[in-house]
Amino acid sequence: MDPVILFFVLGITAGLLRSELRLPAAVYEFVTIVLLLAIGLKGGIELAKQPLGQLLPQMVAVVVLGFVLALIAFPVLRKLGRLQRADAASIAAHYGSVSVGTYAVAVAYLGSQQVSFEEHMPLLLVLMEVPAIIVGIILARGVSRSTRWGSVVHEVFLGKGIVLLLGGLLIGWAAGPEGVLPLEPLFMDLFKGILALFLLEMGLITAAQLTGLRRYGLFLVAFGIAMPLFSAVVGTATALMLGLSLGGTVILATLAASASYIAVPAAMRISVPEANPTLSLAAALGVTFPFNVLIGIPIYHAMATWVLG
């Protein structure tokens, strides 16, 4: 098992044992900022090497993928889960969007398995964050006039996550591989160490979400495991269609399978306030994140190997 995963396990364990261990909010923010910038930069460097036009099919495909996954999740949550409209819409948005932390773990995993992948994946990551948010808002409130779309767009595109990822992408793209070289000691060499600290904190947070889970029962657990498995299949199929490499397929499956816990919760809190954040975070963080990180990614790897082999 990759040692960064062990940090996640340490965090969960410490959290469940009610240890005094707690990372200050500022450390969480620092670590998040470095990760987001690092992922953006890495993708940007790659973009500098190839014509953007060539990536257009992939870009369109992941946007559609984001829409579709949210639209599929919604009726399941509504019918099978008997959740309220707003809650179902909000959770659907979480699962249609993506988790940067899960992406980073997948990158680390492929690294230690020495499987290479298309390095422009961070571009797809950014593109896939947004569509599900829009779906979620429309599902919750309809396309009513009263929705303040101005502030929705602001919330979505100017949130910390997107700004740093996109900013990193653009800087990496503008500076190119040579230009970014002096930044590598911080953003590349420390990447795994910083990711370890991030996962330690995520473990502590995940442990706290489990309380939410206990209250809202089995359905969320089932959904939190079944949905990523289903999404990973859709993601793998999409990757196949796009002709991605083995590594690229694993990443796209992981992106599809992952559920957002940075951009989407913030956007939903403002745009669909009547949705209960405890539900979506319990599912996305309490179930799906650990599932993907501990079990899912190797499964998606096996699946991709099988499909592409």
Binding site: R22, L23, A25, Y28, E29, E201, L204, I205, A208, T211, G212, Y261, P265, A266, R269, I270, P273, E274, P277, T278, L281
Partner: protein, 100 residues
């Protein structure tokens, strides 16, 4: 030195609401506000500030009684149902009546 009676409205709520709340305060006619980071527990469970989604803010507004009452009532009607939020109002004395 003379002193004048004003109200201190304190709001404890989710950090995610900061921008929205500040817009509401600006609109209410109050002349200012003070924000500190906080954590806590209430009907919506423990909010331990471990990460942005579980952080609270504590906002104070010194203003006249009327503004305090109407701002409190408005926030109550608009946000109490969907957000972790409490409101309380205390009596305070200030030195410069025109400032608040």
């Amino acid at each position: 030195m003379n002193s004048y009676k004003r109200k201190l409205l304190t709001i404890v709520t989710e950090a995610a609401l900061e921008t929205t709340l500040i817009r509401e305060i600006d609109r209410s006619g109050a002349h200012g506000y003070t924000v500190t980071d906080a954590r806590g527990k209430g009907d919506h469970g423990v909010r331990d500030a471990g990460w942005p989604a579980s952080a609270n803010i504590r906002v104070e507004v010194v203003c006249d009684a009327e503004t305090a009452q109407s701002l409190a009532a408005h926030l109550h009607d608009r946000y109490y149902q969907d957000y972790a939020m409490i409101l309380f109002i205390a009596e305070v004395e200030v030195l410069r009546p025109t400032k608040f």
